[in-house]
Amino acid sequence: MTEEIKRPQRKGENPEKDPELLETNTGLKVKLFYDPEDVPQFDYKASLGNPGKYPYTRGIYPTMYRGKLWTMRQYSGFSTSENTNSRFKYLLDQGQTGLSLALDLPTQLGLDSDNPLARDDVGKLGVAIDSLRDMEEMFNGIPLDKISTSFTINSTASIILAMYVATAEKQGVDPSTLRGTIQNDIIKEYIARGTYIFPPEPSIRLIGDTIEYCIKNIPRFNSVSVSGTHICECGATPAQGVAYPFLTGIAYLREVLNRGYEVDDIAPLLSFHLIAGGVQFNFFQEIAKLRAARRLWAKILKERFNSASEKGMRLKFSTGGMGGGMTEQQPLNNIARIAFYALAAALAGSQSMNLPCFDEAYAIPTDEAIRTSLRIQQIIAYEIGVPDVVDPLGGSYYVESLTDSFEDEITVEMEKIDSLGGILRCVEDGTIQKQLADQAYTVQKKFESGDLIKVGVNRFQIDEEERELEVFEIDPETRARQIGRLNRIKNERDKDRVKGALEALRKAAVERKNLMPHMLDAVKAYATVGEICRQLKEVYGEASQVTVF
């Protein structure tokens, strides 16, 4: 292998001959080096502040990782609740500190496992949940007051949350002690991820219902995790990947403000899921972006919404690099990529990490691949000294200058959408989807032409055998078994109680009341996800699809 190690000529490659700036892989213009003149406005207290102090650029807590490490989660959950239960126990044994639950697509779309449309997807990308019985069995022997759980669920989030609360009650755990996060972010589903059911307006109202319920009953539970990750994987720029979730978070905040709550009741329950790594990844830029995000969110909350509480102004975020950065070629190279994503997230002061797995371009990750991603987090946390000092890059001319430019760029992206009628309008008319599709296409072309380098893919390739990694397989009997469970619970439950609860839920939906108490009654009666959603579809209708490309 004697490949010439030469980068393609780029503008500004030689700063002495060419005073122009160098364009990074993400389109940012950077200088050869940075000095004090690049941060003219720098005022330590106003720009950074100590960790845990406004504007929280350095981190949202005074002691950061010395006080508490980030939560290490790897996305898992598959097939049936018993299988997921054993995997959860395995991960907790391995030192994982929180659970991150993947639910199968039928559950995410409000279809029971016996629905013909669900035929191919039961238990495939996550665990199948039809009724409260599945949730009870999934957490059997896992005390819910001792762990925190994150649920990747959106259009049916209110149902899953109700089931989690009901499971806690059955375990004898006081729901007010529950910790965790429910994704519950519908706007990015219309933009990027696709698991929407109802039209935007009632969907946002449902999110408002869950936030309101959490404020009153489970105040330590993040009732929303507004996600920039998926839209970045779909083509959003790094700044858009913060701007759009911020606009989305503000939309949810306003929904609950309109119900008479104070900003400082609501804001502490909002959390974010932001990308650190992925299709396009620039190490320093990612760190600066996340620092800028913290500062900007604090300013928005304080200046625009008059937040007066630290909890309200702190931007809590988890980070994940998603599978889009993982390559099929030379898959072990992905382990290095994942490590850099994780290092960026740690240097940026993330509250939680959820990393992709090196075999992601092949199939659903194997145990070994998931464990490796967890070990990467543990190496950074325990082996190489990263968490010892808070915000170690703070004060770097380069990083501070990038942080300033990101704050401006995110603000500009937010204003653009606002000037076009707001996030909801731009999602309903497809403006954002079209823009992301254009950007994703441009990036793809750049990888194909070699303008953007991907090691092992368009540079430093080797002749690879048709590689056969060990691939994770779902038991083909999963669907039959899950339907068996569903039928059993349908026979055992009190049918009148189910009927009454569903009717009450429907009535509350028509009257636009908060649905959470009725969701709780329905799930406790063992009404299924599909039955509950059918009621709501009849009242709300279904969302229409934007198919621009």
Binding site: D121, A363, Q444
Partner: protein, 134 residues
Amino acid sequence: MSSKRPIRVLIAKPGLDGHDKGAKIVARGLKDAGMEVIYTGIRQTVDSIVRTALQESIDVIGLSILSGTHLSLCEELMEKMAKEDLRDKMVVVGGIIPQKDVIRLKEMGVRAVFRPSSKVEDIAQCIRNEVQKA
């Protein structure tokens, strides 16, 4: 077929998965390569894909499947296409497809399988070659 009429491609996303960035990139790339492209949108049933294929007199169906459901979906599609006398239409699949399944898909009659490493221009070239052969 006549070289005057552009190749008509239906990009379809069967099943419940909603991740369609790849489907859209391929749709756009084939359009830029001079083909006429229809994108179904997400969550299509095999029946609706076959119906659209008939209505739009397409030459090629490209399925995008990332959720591990490719075997059962392709089997169903090939059966229904045979029933509708669409046997001569080319079916290609793209997505997260383990190598061992590529062989099984080809046995079913899928003409080409593209994975994350495939380039859009190669997909276009492959479609052009195959359609010209037919």
